[in-house]
Amino acid sequence: MRHILAVLVENNPGVLTRVAGLFSRRGYNIDSLTVGRTESARISRMTIVVSGDDQVLEQVTKQLHKLVDVIKINDITSDQYVDRELVLIKVGADPAVRAEIMQIVDIFRARIVDIGRKTLMIECTGDEGKINAVIQSLMPFGIKELVRTGKVAMQRGHKFTSINEIREDD
């Protein structure tokens, strides 16, 4: 089963290596990992998608906790949450097919962010299923280049994975 972990870490040099190294060394599989600063410059947040049964997840969580730079871990899989990915797709677009591509872009509420002589660059955000669908739909036109971010996720409602909450703990 896939789990989504929201992880707050000290924004120290090497923290990504520590986390990624832990996963590879202990043989856990990362499906995706995203990282960026939070509202505090000293703290970053990772969203890690990891596959494994409950026992593996328990070990992943405990081992992550042992890293001194890791401040907080929330497995939000069983909560209500919003998750998003962003993708940029450069797709082959001769004038003859541009209208068709633009229609697909509309359907997915994606956006065209750049136009080349023979290409269009499309930006799309959404959950994983939607991103996969938009890629599938554009495939026939010839995808020249693609980059996607991996998942970011946040719990709905009055549940937090935040430093404010940690301050309260203190």
């Binding site: 870490v9 000290e10 040099p13 090497g14 290596t17 520590r18 190294g21 060394r25 026992q55 328990e58 070990q59 405990k62 081992q63 906790h65 042992k66 890293l67 001194v68 730079d69 890791v70 401040i71 907080k72 940690i166």
Partner: protein, 553 residues
């Protein structure tokens, strides 16, 4: 007043109460060595940086205080790696300081540059690269805090040369503030109550004690637990000394080379109380059959150890000493029953044994060492057969008197660790029980022992084989002794060449006089015991086998 980074390092170490450092100078640590010169810290110059790491480790295990080692950048730092990994696997509090090329040279493949924080990432509890002299004192404070608290472990601080030269005002912080590091010390009350219930209901309890008991200084509490629950006590290799082996409830070590009584007791118990132990494969053998009839209580300070290898019924995360104190306070005195008698019968029926045949036997040497030191010595070991015989045939009664590389199994650990142990506990007789293979891996440290006149005794059990590997080849590879027949130097002459006392013993009758002479010599001694070449360590559980199915013994 402003101090240089190097002076700040020395002042910080003093503030941490450090007395001894084991190290080796080099280009990038010149400023640190300059600050050391004339300071109150005693620095021991080893002959190889690996020796520095092991000596600091031996010092830490013998005293319970953090060990400190120091090396230069690049090869100096990489030479520490095996020693750091050894300390990591056995949860030893160690602070390793390494020099590094100046900040503006980092990442440019500079002379003697190695990414030692990257290299030691998986074998340190934490590590630091200091890039601002203003962070130096705080970093050292945090390093000692992390190394010594919770589940102890090695911490490395990599310090570029320019940081040692730059100046700033020095103030050693009073406390640390690490958001992501707060070890759980106190056990959960609900789980402790559950443990009390399980203990009350158990008919056949066994205590399985590991290195965590020694680390937590919880031997007295363990003793009380054993007496309250009338439980047979078995220890792991790392737990040796946590419970007196002379006590009627002691069944000795369990696992691959454990006693039959310990392995039978664990296999048939209905309650296993695991204290500061981690269900290592050398202990459990085949997991499905390990303590298969038992409910399990697992007490450990490291939450990640609980449920890692076996499912437990009652997990208690916390410091062993604190948890046992609380648990003991809630327990009622249990009564001895048929179970304790049965275990006692196993003990009588299956003592550790070996056959005398006129050739000098390694087991009898260990027994003589026990007799002559009355069990009061600090025994350090190398790795292999020597280590197992030392674990089996000496009766340990006190914690920190058996010092051995358990988790990593590092050959070459013994001599430098013995030097560190002797520095930490100068009043104790320190004996390194060695093999002729292992001793040659860090033999250069004889020069260190002689230079500082650190009177360690090296008892080489010399069978001219890499004995443990040979034993496996004999049993599992049809006696195809592939590259295990090893020629050593003349150890007596070697001892003399280093300026130590050398002796050779080939007969049982000479063992005791030689040991007596070595103890009285009060200087480094090598005794070359020429033993039966193909003696095996028994009992033995084949790897992956169930621990009650033992070969030999």
């Amino acid at each position: 007043m402003k101090l240089s980074g190097a002076e700040i390092i020395i002042k910080s170490l003093q503030a941490e109460g450090v007395e001894a450092i084991f190290g080796y100078p080099g280009g990038q640590v010149l400023p640190i060595y300059d600050a050391l010169y004339g300071s109150s810290l005693t620095h021991y110059l080893v002959r190889h940086e690996q020796g520095a790491a092991h000596a600091a480790d031996g010092y830490a295990r013998a005293t319970g205080k953090p060990g400190v080692c120091l090396a230069t950048s690049g090869p100096g730092a990489t030479n520490l790696v095996t020693g750091i990994a050894t300390a990591y696997m056995d949860s030893v509090p160690l602070v390793a300081l390494t020099g590094q090329v100046p900040c503006d040279m980092l990442g440019k493949d500079s002379f003697q540059e190695a990414d030692i924080t990257g290299i030691t990432l998986p074998i340190t509890k934490h590590n630091f690269l200091v890039k601002d002299v203003n962070d130096l004192a705080r970093t050292i404070k945090e390093a000692f805090h992390i190394a010594t608290t919770g589940r102890p472990g090695p911490v490395l601080i990599d310090i570029p040369k320019d940081i040692c030269v730059k100046q700033t005002t020095f103030k050693y912080p009073d406390k640390v503030n690490l958001k992501g590091y707060k070890p759980t010390m106190k056990g959960n009350k609900g789980q402790i109550s559950n443990a009390v219930k399980l203990i009350g209901a158990a008919k056949r309890p066994v205590i399985y004690a590991g290195g965590g008991v020694v680390v937590s200084n919880a031997s007295e509490e363990l003793f009380r637990l054993a007496e309250l629950t009338v439980s047979p006590v078995t220890t792991t290799l790392m737990g040796i000394g946590a419970f007196p082996e002379t006590h009627p409830l002691s069944v000795g070590m369990l696992g691959m080379h454990g006693t039959k009584s310990a392995n039978f007791a664990v296999s048939e118990c209905d309650l296993l109380i695991a204290v500061g132990a981690r269900f290592d494969d050398r202990v459990t053998g085949k997991l499905d059959e390990f303590a298969s009839e038992a409910r399990i209580i697992h007490i450990d300070v490291d939450p990640a150890e609980i449920g890692k290898n076996v499912r437990v019924d009652v997990p208690i995360v916390g410091d062993v000493k604190m948890v046992l104190t609380e648990l003991n306070g809630k327990l009622e005195q249990q009564q001895s029953s048929e179970w304790q008698e049965r275990v006692a019968r196993w003990k009588d029926k299956y003592p550790l044994c070996y056959k005398e045949n006129g050739v000098l036997k390694p087991q009898c040497i260990i027994e003589e060492i026990y007799n002559i030191t009355k069990g009061e010595a600090t025994i350090v070991t190398e790795v292999g057969q020597n280590q197992m015989w030392a674990a089996q045939y000496y009766k340990y009664t006190k914690p920190r008197t058996f010092i051995s590389s358990g988790g990593l199994g590092t050959m070459g650990y013994g001599l430098p660790a013995a030097i560190g142990a002797k520095v930490g506990r100068p009043d104790s007789v320190v004996i390194d029980i060695a093999g002729d293979g292992s001793i040659q891996m860090n033999i250069q440290e004889m020069a260190t022992a002689v230079h500082y006149n650190i009177p360690v005794i090296i008892a080489i059990l010399n069978n001219s084989y890499l004995g443990m590997v040979r034993q496996w080849q004999e049993i599992f590879y049809e006696r195809r002794y592939s590259y295990t027949d090893i020629t050593g130097p003349d150890f007596v002459k070697l001892a003399e060449a280093y300026g130590a006392l050398g002796m050779r013993v080939t007969e049982h009758k000479d063992v005791r006089p030689a040991l007596q002479k070595a103890i009285e010599a009060n200087r480094p001694v090598i005794i070359d015991f020429v033993i039966e070449r193909e003696e095996n360590v028994f009992p033995m559980v084949p790897p992956g086998g169930a621990i009650h199915k033992m070969l030999g013994g």
